[in-house]
């Protein structure tokens, strides 16, 4: 962990303070007011007791003090509550803002940069990480503001009446944070190490439970039981040795505050006996002594909120400002971001501003009106591609590299006619997915351009462009919600019969209708409860309903059994009719149906022709197709 990163988190946390608006200051103000009333409260109490002891006053004589005290108590309770309420409101504002920023940022970096293995960690940061900030803004920050204000206000009253007690307080108070920081600095690192150890111990335990069957097969399961006990015990020993030092700061806090109160009491007592001080003032000072140290105690209590927040902030910085993090393993660390996406800053603005932040007019127009209207409007003329229902795509000398010096696609030129069926073939790493990602708009060419119906495809066309694409990946994602919502993903306002027709075309209607809740059946996480084939067919229904002029396929039957494959192929033939289809092919079937096959090798086009021609002429292609056949057989 570098020093730069250590200071980045506190700065990041501080920067978020502006989101709290006036609430944080308001909360501190209320807390301070309550602190000042504490002085009034002590004054009333000292008066009552002084008058009873030395003036023989009765309750009736003192009724005005009692009434005053009662209202001060009530008022302080109200202030404390309001202070807490505003502090939480301040924290909630930061949480709301950050969660939105983090979530938007995910879309900003786009699907290619999201490392699947880390997806769990991303989710944790967006959900729990944000929640972990609450105590920092609602407790730690207000406490830190009050830690100086309240003791100073108390001192203002103590000094004129009893300077000796004032000096004791003034001298001891700064020692507390001083020593706490001294000890804290030393133990912070150790503490972090201990936390990591705890996490590792927890992970080990989980690992053992998960692998219990394997352990049993090797007759090692009982041996591991001792290991678990031993690891936990080692952890206890090492943690306790850290804690012995870490708790010194609380020892010191306790020592300084308690011994100071004792000293104040004893010294006041003697001066009272010698008649150097009035009892009223002495008692007043004694009442305020514990209150003087209270904010310092609170600081000790809420200090760990800071540690926790810093831990959470580290992860947020990795997502929001990956460039600032030098560490090797950041959450969204991809050369992608640095080379391609960040370079074309357009994508940031285009994606975030138009897709997420607000509904730009273009977007609304597309959803509500026919495309012919669009092409008439002179204002939006340059912003639209003006696609009606046929699409011609031209790659003009397109190059793309994810990392400098390692081209994924080089000088690709290809023109695709309207309603043509194109299959893309190549071994892994040949550039098939890059080509698909360019078409999907997840990346944009670093050189050359993609031209759609004579107009260059630009970032601000993305919404309209994607509106014209239906896409089937190898493993479609189903969302939490009903089957209906999943089919209508692109057309939320589609009517019932259109949705059912789509399901029928995807040959999934019978299955859905056999479910008790039919189309309103809830789908669990990642389509839990559905087979791979059913998931793909629901996604296919989605494509049917979208009815887009361009169909992009990434071998959607790759992970399916033969039966499901046959069903999907049948629907796909129907869907492919009168459309432009571009598919990444791993199956013989797919290449045979294509009008033309594009053979890629190491980022370059090797040949473009139909299946028969390539079979006859291209040895590389013959080899690929041979592999397809083997795969198909293996599959069977």
């Amino acid at each position: 962990m570098s020093d730069a990163k250590d200071s980045a988190s506190p700065e990041f946390l501080k920067a978020q303070k502006k989101t709290t608006g006036a609430y944080l200051r308001f909360s501190v103000g209320l807390g301070l007011l309550s602190g000042l009333l504490l002085i009034a409260q002590a004054w009333c109490l000292a008066n009552i007791i002084n008058n009873v002891i030395f003036e023989k006053a009765t309750v009736a004589n003192l009724s005005s003090y009692f009434v005053a005290l009662f209202f001060v108590y009530l008022f302080r309770a109200g202030l404390n509550w309001a202070s807490e309420y505003t502090a939480v409101e301040a924290a909630l504002r930061v949480k709301r803002d950050l969660r939105k920023k983090l979530h938007d940022r995910l879309f900003e970096v786009g699907p290619l940069s999201l490392n699947n293995e880390r997806s769990g960690e991303l989710i944790n940061t967006v959900v729990d990480g944000v929640d972990a900030l609450e105590n920092y803004y609602a407790r730690y920050l207000p406490t830190m503001s009050l830690v100086a204000l309240i003791p100073l206000s108390i001192l203002v009253f103590i000094f004129p009446i009893d300077w000796i007690s004032g000096v004791i307080m003034l001298v001891t108070a700064p020692l507390i944070p001083f020593f706490m920081i001294m000890i804290g600095k030393g133990t912070e690192r150790l503490n972090k190490k201990q936390w990591r150890k705890l996490a590792r111990m927890s992970a080990h335990f989980l690992d053992m439970i998960q692998g219990l069957t394997t352990l049993k097969l090797f007759n090692a399961s009982r041996r591991e039981s001792q290991l678990i006990a031993r690891i936990s015990d080692d952890y206890r020993k090492s943690t306790m040795s850290v804690l012995r030092v870490a708790f010194l700061s609380s020892l010191l806090l306790e020592f300084l505050s308690t011994v100071s109160i004792a000293m104040v009491a004893v010294l006041i007592g003697f001066r009272l006996m010698y008649g150097e001080l009035d009892f009223f003032y002495g008692f007043f000072a004694l009442l305020l002594a514990p209150e003087f140290y209270q904010p310092l105690r609170n600081m000790g209590t809420h200090y760990h909120a800071r540690m926790e927040a810093i831990g959470a902030a580290e992860k947020m910085i990795e997502i929001l400002h990956p460039d600032d993090v030098k560490s090797e393993d950041t959450l969204i660390k991809s050369t992608l971001i640095k080379s391609a996406l960040v370079k074309s800053t357009l994508i940031k603005s285009a994606l975030v501003k138009s897709t997420l932040l607000k509904d730009v007019p273009v977007n609304n127009d597309l959803a509500s009106s026919s495309s012919s209207e669009l092409s008439h409007s002179s204002i939006v003329e340059n912003k639209t591609l003006g696609i009606t229902n046929s699409i011609k795509i031209e790659f003009k000398d397109v190059s793309f590299e994810y990392e400098p010096g390692r081209p994924a696609l080089e000088h690709l030129s290809l023109s695709i006619k309207a309603n043509e069926n194109i299959a893309i073939v190549g071994s892994s790493g040949a550039g098939k997915s890059t080509l698909m990602n360019l078409l999907l708009g997840f990346i944009s060419p670093q050189q050359g351009e993609i031209v759609i119906n004579q107009k260059p495809l630009r970032q601000d066309h993305l919404n309209e462009w994607r509106h014209n694409i239906a896409w089937m990946p190898q493993r479609a994602h189903l969302f939490q919600g009903t089957i209906r919502e999943n089919i209508c993903l692109a057309n939320p306002s589609a009517n019932d019969s259109a949705m059912k027709n789509a399901a029928k075309s995807a040959l999934i209607n019978e299955y859905i209708e056999s479910l008790p809740d039919s189309y309103d059946t809830h789908i669990g996480e990642r389509g839990a409860g559905l087979s791979g084939g059913q998931i793909q067919r629901i996604a296919l229904a989605r494509a049917f309903l979208k009815d887009a002029p361009l169909l992009l396929l990434d071998e959607p039957t790759a992970y399916l059994d033969q039966e499901s494959e046959a069903l999907i192929q049948q629907s796909l033939q129907l869907l492919s009719k009168d459309r432009c289809v571009i598919s990444i092919a791993h199956r013989l079937n797919t290449v045979q149906q294509a009008d033309r096959v594009v053979l890629l090798e190491k980022g370059r086009v090797v040949a473009i022709a139909n299946h028969q021609t390539l079979m006859a002429e291209n040895p590389l292609y013959q080899k690929m197709v041979d592999l397809f056949e083997q795969g198909d057989q293996h599959h069977a």
Partner: protein
Amino acid sequence: MLSDFQVMRRLFTLIKPWWGWMLLGVVLSLLTILANIGLMALSGWFIASMAIAGITGAAINYFTPAALIRAFAIIRTSSRYAERLVTHEATFRLIASLRSWFYDHLEPLAPAVIQNYRSGDLLSRIRADIDTLDNFYLRIIAPVTVAFISSIIIVIFLWQYSQTLAFIELFFLVAAGVLLPLLINRWGYSASSRQSKITSELRSAVMDSTQGMSELLINDAAKRHSDYVEQLSEGLLKDQKSLATLNGGSQAMSGLLANLCVLLMLIIAIPMVNSEAIGPASLPMLALFTMASFEAIMPLSLAFQTLPTTLAAARRLFDIVDSKPAIIEPEIPHPLPDSADLVFNNMSLRYPSQETDALQNISVNIPTGTNIAIVGPSGSGKSSLINALMKFWPVSSGEISFGGVPIEQLDGEELRSQFAVASQHSTLFNSTIKRNLLLANRKATDSELEAVCKVAQIHDFIMELPEGYDTWIGEAGHKLSGGQMRRISIARTLLKAAPILILDEPGEGLDSITEKNMLQSIIENNKQRTLILITHHLSGLDAMDQIVRIEKGNIVSNQDD
């Protein structure tokens, strides 16, 4: 379902071994609180007495109280430090014993019972539940005990002065320490249960964002989904806000109750001072005593908040631990036979929730040292064969005999020592490659490790890693591909010295050439022991003595080569 009381009782039994540490923690914590009350009360009495002595000129022994005040300060300081160390020591000892306890009880249940808990979510719930139990002592037992005992001492002390004062104190302590938290818990119940529900919805929605982003973008649904996430986040914040408002109110209220208690005490005590029933110096003493006494009940509201979640966590764990193991081991197991002949005799196996047999009337004879392939599509019951053979699941009818002895009569652990199994679910642990391999044979030498890795076609790959066999694998270390993990787990299996070797789909995740080489090498190096090869395709079966085809739990053909 266990009642709250039963759960508590069992929890107490679990933590009993550490009662000494826990008691010490309670005593120290009690001392810390009482020393502070003593310090404040005595200080009040002291300065009032000194002031009176100053005015009246009466003689006063000021040495004892002044020394006591300092003593209280020192006791408070040192017992606070010791208390924190001791309670943490007790907690860590608890963590260790709870984990071992849970593991020891889970071990006999594996894999039959824990198969239901396979998914990562459930496992991490188990982990979270155990973490929750860690707090049982620190958050619940210790503060409740301390609050209870110190309240008794506080009330007894006041009783010396006046019964009324004692009752008032008791009333306010109970109101602020018990009634208020109970009330707040009840009011916050719906918000806090909704909060956990929305949190899990939010988690799924964000998961949809990360894993379904492409679909969202292509289908123009990104904004809609973001709005949905925002809406969930807003709902969560709303509930968090109402809970915070409630808790803030609770804190303010408990402070107010303490203050009102002081006020009421004064109103009762002042006439007593006026009538000289108690000395005048007792008045500031009583006021400061009362103020300080509320420290004792402060942690109770947290204890009340944590109790239901702790009990729920404990209940879930007890539910798992209480499940009956699928297999009851024989009391006096038959000694292991010398021969490793395996005979399946008309054996059937059915899982409890299933309507059909997973395996039906299986009869196979596998003499020692022969090679047999069991072939069939996935889902045909091949894995159930391993479950039955390993005594992970009981057979429903028929029997399996090992060396002529029905396996029910053999001890499961001894029986399993005779098999080296690479199952499809074999896990590699978060550790080094070497230590993962050594699991099979702790005494294996480096050259033995290399030999099995060469057979499993993974040695060359391991040597290419910068740290070779000491490479740390798993979540914390080097990511291996499925095929690499498979080969390491096969190497591990080969390392185990057992007369019967079972490989379940060894070629999974491997390209066909590697698979072929590996199988060939395994068969060549496997001269004496029985090999049972479970697979769904037919390549590399030339060297087999017997090929059994299984479909839907039935043997459809059995051919000897």
